[in-house]
């Protein structure tokens, strides 16, 4: 999604001169076009993420809408206090962009992964986390973030194309519509691709993506699907605590959405203390296509 992101930022920042872009010394072979087109509104703050976010708050206070870009763990964890105190307390338009959310940086190692990012950021006051699932979601998320003019986090990952290109993108998307749904699967981010692969021989799983956390409400097609199937699977490349599953479950119970079975498929961290690529971690966590298919199969058997 990096290049898609870069093209979208170039476009959106050309339309709005109040947009500033700060990078924490990253963007090789991805942000050169942004650097060129934004001129003095493009700033390299060096390998100094805390200062980058503190400065962004100062610039936002003076009227700018400020994107801060780095690898996901660096923009989330290193400067969490700046995000909370300087940005969120004052409801300032500072937009954190984390590339490689989840296990995206694979063999680069655990320091480069962000599997607790939503848990860290989504409880902060005024903060909204945006998690595009497909390439086409990226520009939609950027435009929503700029329009909302509030603290935001954009978690970037792999940019697959939509299975149904005609889809009207919103914060909740019904990406696979089955004729006789027995299961409602809700995915966070590009990991949805594994679910799509898992159900390609089936026609009984409704697949949704949620692009915005905290989840506002459960309504429309999502609510109807859950009411019909009663079987809910949440799939995310994020730890269980504070992730989409936990937040969604609370929302479902609070809103009285009826269901009888809830399964959370999530990142398990580093249980083997062995390292590999993104797919390797997905397999270990049971969030790869094969593992998802097994879970679906088991639910269908008991349906």
């Amino acid at each position: 999604m990096r290049k898609i992101f870069s093209r979208a930022i170039e476009k959106v920042s050309n339309e709005n001169e109040k947009i500033v872009f700060i990078t924490g010394d990253l963007g090789y072979n991805a942000l050169e076009n942004v650097q060129e087109s934004m001129k003095n509104r493009f700033i390299n703050a060096g390998v100094a993420e805390q200062n980058m976010v503190g400065m962004a708050a100062g610039m936002a206070y003076k009227g700018y809408k400020v994107f801060c870009y780095s690898i996901a763990p660096f923009i989330v964890y290193r400067c969490l206090e700046q995000t909370r105190n300087d940005v969120c307390f004052h409801d300032l338009p500072v937009f954190l962009v984390g590339n490689g959310g989840g296990y995206g940086y694979g063999i680069m190692g655990a320091t480069h992964h962000a599997i607790e990012d939503i848990a860290c950021l989504s409880p902060l006051p005024n903060m909204t986390c945006w998690i595009p699932a497909f390439a086409d979601d990226v520009e939609y998320c950027i435009r929503e973030i700029v329009k909302n003019n509030k603290p935001a986090y954009l978690r970037l990952g792999l940019g697959n194309p939509y299975p149904d290109k005609a889809l009207q993108i919103s914060t909740v998307n019904h990406v696979i519509v089955s004729k006789q749904p027995k299961i409602t699967l809700i995915a966070l981010g590009p990991i949805v691709q594994n679910a799509i692969e898992a159900v390609k021989e089936l026609d009984c799983v409704d697949i949704f993506t949620i692009l915005k956390v905290p989840v506002a409400e459960i309504s429309g097609e999502l609510e109807q699907s859950i009411s019909k199937t009663g079987n809910v699977i949440v799939l995310e490349e994020h730890v269980q605590r504070g992730g989409l599953g936990e937040q969604l479950l609370m929302k479902m119970v609070e809103s009285g959405v009826r269901f009888h079975n809830f399964k959370s498929l999530h990142a398990k961290g580093y249980p083997t203390q062995l390292y590999g690529n993104q797919k390797y971690y997905q397999e270990i966590s049971g969030i790869d296509a094969k593992s998802i298919a097994l879970v679906i199969d088991e639910i269908i058997q008991n349906f």
Binding site: V20, N40, R41, I43, A45, G46, A48, Q50, N51, V53, G54, M55, A56, A57, G58, M59, A60, Y61, K62, G63, Y64, E81, Q82, N85, D86, F89, H90
Partner: protein, 264 residues
């Protein structure tokens, strides 16, 4: 306008009254920086310019200055430290223009001020940005991240002021990390450095005015040597006055000391 001695006396007395009434601490650090704040806020900063109090624990010194300038009404000032106040022990934002950011965790102020100065630069504004740091602020790594950025981006309208009372949370600066607010470090990074007596209002004013016209591509730092608890005999240079509230006897003594200091 009153002469500076009268303002110094009035605002020191106000700090003592309010902290006594609230039974609050952080008196030593408020008294060490009040003269710097008077110089910046009463004599130097214009309305469009921004001031950031990085050493948020000296909030009371900021509150009495904003009360003096008319921004914080007397009724609000009397609510300091009480339940339901807009004026807690560390500044909370979103109410007064003079308090744009919630501060209290050290090491945030210079980054914010640098961002403001950078925004002003992009907008080609002639406004200066002021920020007040403590010794503790210069322990924090973020301060140095911001310092390098400010130099490399030639933010010469950024005026950093350090309230260097040389005493921190649990010891003397020299015994903790050493003198992290030393002039040599700032010079080597590329700041214009001015070492001054941080209680001499005329000197502070003169130095700030000098900084204003020195548009040479370099950010400025005033390393202001100060005395923690300045003006109250038993508080001066004593670490415990970072924390302690005053007893009745101590309060009476403190007021007497301030009266004496400005009648001498």
């Amino acid at each position: 306008m009153k002469n500076s001695g009268e303002i110094q006396k009035q605002l020191r007395t106000r700090i003592l009254e309010l902290s006594h009434q609230a039974n609050s601490g952080h008196i030593g650090g408020a008294l060490s920086c009040i003269d710097l704040l008077i110089s910046i806020l009463v004599y130097n900063k214009n309305e469009e310019e921004d001031f950031i109090l990085s050493k948020g624990h000296a909030a009371l010194a900021l509150y009495v200055c904003l009360n003096y300038s008319g921004e914080i009404p007397d009724s609000e000032l009397l609510s300091f430290y009480k339940n339901g106040t807009q004026l807690p022990a560390h500044p909370a934002a979103n109410k007064y223009k003079g308090i744009p950011f919630a501060l209290g965790s050290l090491g945030h102020g210079l980054s914010i001020a640098t961002g403001i100065a950078q925004a002003n630069k992009i907008q080609a504004s002639g406004n200066h940005t002021f920020v007040l740091l403590s010794d503790g602020d210069t322990n924090e790594g973020t301060t140095w991240e911001a310092a390098h950025f400010a130099v490399n981006n030639q933010l010469d309208r950024l005026i950093v002021v350090i309230d260097k009372n040389s005493i921190q949370g649990f010891g003397n600066s020299s015994d903790i990390l050493g003198d992290t607010a030393n002039a040599g470090t700032w010079i080597s990074i590329g700041f214009d450095v001015f070492e001054i007596d941080g209680h001499d209002i005329e000197l502070i004013n003169g130095t700030i005015q000098k900084c204003r016209i020195l548009l040479n591509g370099k950010p400025k730092v005033l390393i202001a040597n100060t005395t923690k608890g300045k003006g109250v005999s038993y508080m001066e240079k004593r670490m415990e006055w970072h924390y302690l509230p005053m007893t009745e006897e101590q309060y009476t003594q403190a007021l007497q000391d301030i009266n004496k200091l400005y009648h001498a």
